[in-house]
């Protein structure tokens, strides 16, 4: 069965994943909106940059984050300057890494959703004297609801399944950086297969339930219609 230490890792994973998803939606929404609408030539460059975390193997990405966050690294120097100390081996560091790692999974569905909103819809809102902010909250957001759900689901599940990056910068500290994926791996390494099976089953069961609920909600998305 699950030990208290196992339960702790589940709770910590839930915290990291929810916080990262929340931050990603905050950063990702304006970024995706800009990417979907801009005629700027920098668009291609930024799109490529957002997708880059997909290219590097997670442990390698984690290794470079470790160097970046170290006392000699740019991020490490910045965090010391701000009085935050070293970010590696901390909960904050883990969240920052997760945000980078899961960025494409949140930005891309949002960008697709925003792309699907016809320019005419926005113009119609403007003729009704909606200012851009108004249009965004009362027209764009409701129309992009499926995109937001997909982005949240992908961002959340991808962070829950994160392993390589955490392994490299986490330091396996109980309560701070020991997430469930690392705990399962440690059980396997210590040949405690029984505990590994239990924990993996709980993780899968929990994620499956959440996904079923979300996809059921998603089943009837509001229709995005082109204005004639």
């Amino acid at each position: 069965m699950l030990s208290p230490a196992d339960l702790e890792t589940l709770w910590l994973t839930f915290k990291v994943a929810s916080l990262s998803t929340f931050i990603l939606l905050l950063i990702g929404t304006p970024l995706a909106w800009w990417l979907a609408r801009t005629p700027s030539p920098a668009k291609g460059f930024l799109n490529a940059l957002v997708s880059l975390p997909l290219v590097l193997p997670p442990t390698v990405l984690g290794f470079y984050l470790l160097i970046l966050m170290g006392p000699q690294g740019a991020l490490g120097k910045l965090s010391h300057f701000l009085g935050l100390g070293t970010l590696s081996f901390t909960f904050t560091g883990l969240v920052i890494a997760s945000v980078l790692y899961s960025m494409p999974f949140v930005v891309q569905p949002l960008q697709t959703a925003f792309n699907n909103i016809a320019q005419q819809t926005l113009e119609a809102a403007a003729t009704l004297r909606a200012n851009p902010l108004n249009t965004f909250f009362s027209v764009v957001l409701p129309l992009s609801r499926p995109g937001f759900l997909t982005a949240s689901i992908l961002g959340f599940t991808h962070t829950v399944g994160e392993f390589g990056v955490v392994l490299m910068i986490g330091g396996n500290i109980p309560d701070k950086t020991r997430v469930v994926s690392v705990q399962i791996y440690n059980h396997v390494e210590a040949l405690e297969y029984g505990q590994a099976h239990w924990l993996a089953a709980c993780l899968l069961g929990f994620s499956f339930t959440v996904l079923v609920i979300l996809y059921t909600v998603l089943k009837t998305p509001p229709q995005i219609q082109q204005l004639k």
Binding site: M69, Q72, I169, G171
Partner: protein, 253 residues
């Protein structure tokens, strides 16, 4: 011109095939991370001496054990402890009578910063560090030895909250060499160069101050019929191999 190229290709191909026949057998070896450097060197000298070749795979002992139990193709296991090979023997994966100790590991307290660590490791009591790195004591023998040393010195409680755990000894060294952890415990073989600590600063902990790290070897049933695997086990006891093992700071059993 094209004819020439074809001819050359043909000659080099036959030459390649010819050499591969001469180099005889090849064996697949699972090697514990801490033994990476010496084993790479031993494999080279093994190839020169016997004509056989050894393909090396590096990783943690625990991972290798579970891979071997599930059909991993390894023929020889050089573990970081003796429990891994022993549990494989119980499960019937080891050629009986082939288990032995091939090296005694040494623990070193190491920092990437020169002069950070004094000759007696007093920094553990007086140092104002935020993180001390070690390999996870639950799965890595060098981590277990580090915890043993700390508790014998009465320093475990002070250092426990500062500990960051590497999944294996290589990752632990990365934590320290990148400066994310000010200091930590690694294997002497990782930081030794020409008989002394190569970079940064370190304190080689006297071997009587922690439970000895006995590294075990086993011939696996996969390799029982492979002359290269059998020859490698024998070669590890030869004078040139023993010299390399000692050069990297290990004691001989």
């Amino acid at each position: 011109m094209t004819k020439h190229i074809l001819k050359l290709t043909f000659i080099s191909l036959t030459w390649l095939m010819h050499t591969s026949v001469v180099s005889a057998d090849s064996t697949l070896v699972a090697v514990a991370s801490n033994f990476t450097k010496p084993m790479t060197e031993i494999a080279e000298s093994f190839e020169k001496a016997t004509g056989h070749s050894a393909k090396l795979s590096f990783g943690s002992t625990g991972k290798f054990v579970s891979q071997i139990e599930n059909g991993g193709p390894f023929e020889v296991l050089l573990a970081a402890d003796e429990t891994g090979p022993a549990s494989l023997e119980t499960a019937g994966y080891v050629v009986s009578g082939s288990r032995a100790t091939y090296a005694l590991g040494k623990l070193v307290l190491w920092s990437a910063t020169p002069d950070y660590i004094d000759a007696e490791g007093k920094v553990l009591q007086t140092g104002n560090f935020k993180h001390i790195a070690l390999a996870d004591p639950k799965i890595a023998p060098y981590g277990a030895a580090a915890v043993d040393y700390l508790s014998k010195q009465g320093l475990l409680e002070k250092n426990q909250p500062l500990m960051v755990l590497g999944e294996n000894i290589t990752q632990t060294q990365q934590f320290i060499s990148t400066g994310n952890a000010e200091l930590g415990f690694v294997a002497l073989s990782q930081v030794i160069e020409n008989g002394k600590i190569g970079s940064g600063s370190g304190y080689i902990i006297p071997t009587n101050e922690y439970a000895s790290i006995r590294q075990g070897i086993a011939l696996l049933k996969n390799g029982a019929e492979n002359p290269a695997a059998v020859a490698l086990i024998a070669y590890l006891k030869s004078a040139p191999a023993l010299a390399i093992i000692q050069k990297y700071g290990y004691d001989l059993p």
